[in-house]
């Protein structure tokens, strides 16, 4: 059996562009998704009841449907309602909505694990409700669930591979394109696999380093 990795690596600009797209999609979706998750977790634990139900419905819909269907609905379905998103925007939107739902549930678990007394102590210090949530409830909650939170972000990053199906030019799209040009499937997917593997490991380390440093302290 003859392997020809050179025929894949010679396409490095395409692969690099794909990796850059994957990183960009993941970074944007993580920032927006995390914001959505905090808002969702707040609504479900401390927000007004009807809003909590609404968020509950959103979480259930997203967590019980496949990501690719959500993505196709946004890209192929929404134009019928006059909402036409480019492949990149559609991909970020789908990833954000997806991450938001899962992460909101993860975060809710962390918030509910915060001891009641801690909140009462904050109230007795006359902190406002917003102050209590942002400074007393959220940091320890994030700390408790951070490993699960990071895992979910990595899952979303790996899941972005299907965004190539709507012609978002991320890493798996680049890999598929190279493969369909030179029919070197084994080599192309090995290269793609190693790309995702290193991105995932890097991302995990980055988040494990950044979380305690910027979000909740050691």
């Amino acid at each position: 059996m003859q392997f020809d990795f050179w025929s894949i690596l010679v396409q490095w600009p395409l692969l690099l562009r794909g990796a850059a797209w994957t990183i960009g999609l993941t970074a944007t979706a993580t920032l927006l998704g995390a914001g959505l998750a905090v808002a969702g977790a707040w609504a479900r634990t401390q927000g007004p009841r009807p809003l909590g139900w609404l968020v509950g419905a959103y979480v259930e819909v997203i967590r019980n449907t496949p990501f690719i269907v959500q993505l196709f609905f946004i890209f192929f379905g929404l134009p019928q309602l006059g909402i036409r998103l480019s492949p990149g925007i559609a991909a970020v939107t789908a990833m954000t909505i997806n991450l938001g739902a899962y992460a909101a549930e993860i975060l809710r678990a962390g918030i509910e694990a915060t001891p009641r007394g801690q909140i009462e102590a904050a109230e007795s210090l006359a902190l406002s409700r917003a102050q209590i949530f942002l400074h007393v409830v959220l940091p320890p909650a994030l700390k408790t669930v951070w490993p699960a939170f990071v895992s979910q972000i990595v899952i979303v990053m790996l899941g972005s591979a299907v965004c190539g199906q709507i012609s978002t030019e991320e890493l798996s799209y680049a890999t598929n394109l190279i493969q369909s040009r030179n029919f070197r499937a084994f080599e192309a997917y090995i290269v793609g696999t190693l790309g995702y593997l290193s991105l995932a490991i890097l991302l995990r380390h980055l988040l494990n380093w950044a979380g305690p440093r910027f979000l909740f302290g050691r």
Partner: protein, 262 residues
């Protein structure tokens, strides 16, 4: 009844001899004699062959099949075939002719014979009427949907100017869906695929803009049936000369037959 092994072998050996004369008879003579001609047509391939609302097969191939039947003076028995089985059907004489968007290539020429071409088949660039695409240069800055790895993807890569935003999808269905949803301004696909799209989604107004690749359709005939092939060629050439084929192409493909190879 008990058969000896030798007797059984003998009987088996003689079978082809018994069946032989019937198969060896000139197919054209058989058709003229029985006044029935069995023709393989597609039913899943608009606008060449598909099932209409009345559940009857219709399309360009079906019209050509009926034309051939009429000129042969025989009743046409339409037999639905698909790409994969149309040549085996012909080889095993389940049908007399294949009129099923059949392209000619070397491998096929080894096992069956071909008539002259009767209709164009092509991959092209399609877009709504309002989108102006007069040459490949006009594709610059436009979004084009195409199926990754398909023939038209390779063709497009050769002719598209830099700045063309090619969006590649996994299969024809996704490519068509993207174009139908308005996600791309232009689509590069086969004429049959655009036929399906135009029928299901007439409001798109997708029209033919540019040609990517030509691969005309031929009538397939069993190997060595020279008399039948001669007759079919005669019918098709006459239909070409009197404009019948041109009219059929205009009717179904919205485009002339162009320069069909012999």
């Amino acid at each position: 009844m008990r058969l000896s092994k030798r007797g059984l072998l003998l009987a088996l050996a003689l079978t082809p001899l018994l069946a032989g004369p019937a198969a060896a008879q000139n197919q054209l003579a058989t058709i003229t004699e029985t006044k029935v001609v069995k023709i393989g047509i597609p039913t899943d391939y608009p606008p060449y062959g598909f099932v209409g609302v009345d559940l009857q097969p219709m399309g360009l191939d079906v019209d050509v099949a009926n034309l051939i039947g009429a000129k042969l003076g025989a009743k046409v028995e339409l037999v639905p075939v698909v790409s994969a089985n149309r040549i085996p059907y012909l080889q095993t004489r389940k049908i007399d002719l294949v009129v099923s968007t059949l392209g000619k290539n070397e491998e096929r020429q080894k096992i069956i014979d071909f008539s002259v071409a009767y209709a164009p088949f092509y991959q092209g660039i399609f877009a709504p009427k309002a989108t102006s695409v007069k040459s490949f240069d006009d594709l610059a800055g436009k979004t084009v949907a195409v199926t990754r790895g398909a023939m038209e993807d390779e063709m497009l890569a050769k002719v598209a100017p830099p700045g063309t935003q090619v969006q590649r999808f996994e299969d024809q269905a996704a490519t068509t869906a993207a174009f139908a949803a308005g996600q791309t301004q232009v689509i590069a696909t086969s004429v049959s695929n655009i036929g399906i799209l135009s029928r299901k989604n007439p409001s798109l107004g997708a029209e033919y803009k540019l040609l990517l690749r030509d691969s005309p359709c031929f009538v397939g005939i069993a190997k060595g049936e020279e008399a039948l092939r001669g007759k079919i060629n005669e019918i098709l050439l006459a239909a070409k000369a009197d404009g019948t084929l041109e009219a059929l192409a205009q009717k179904w493909l919205k485009r002339g037959i162009g320069d069909l190879p012999l």
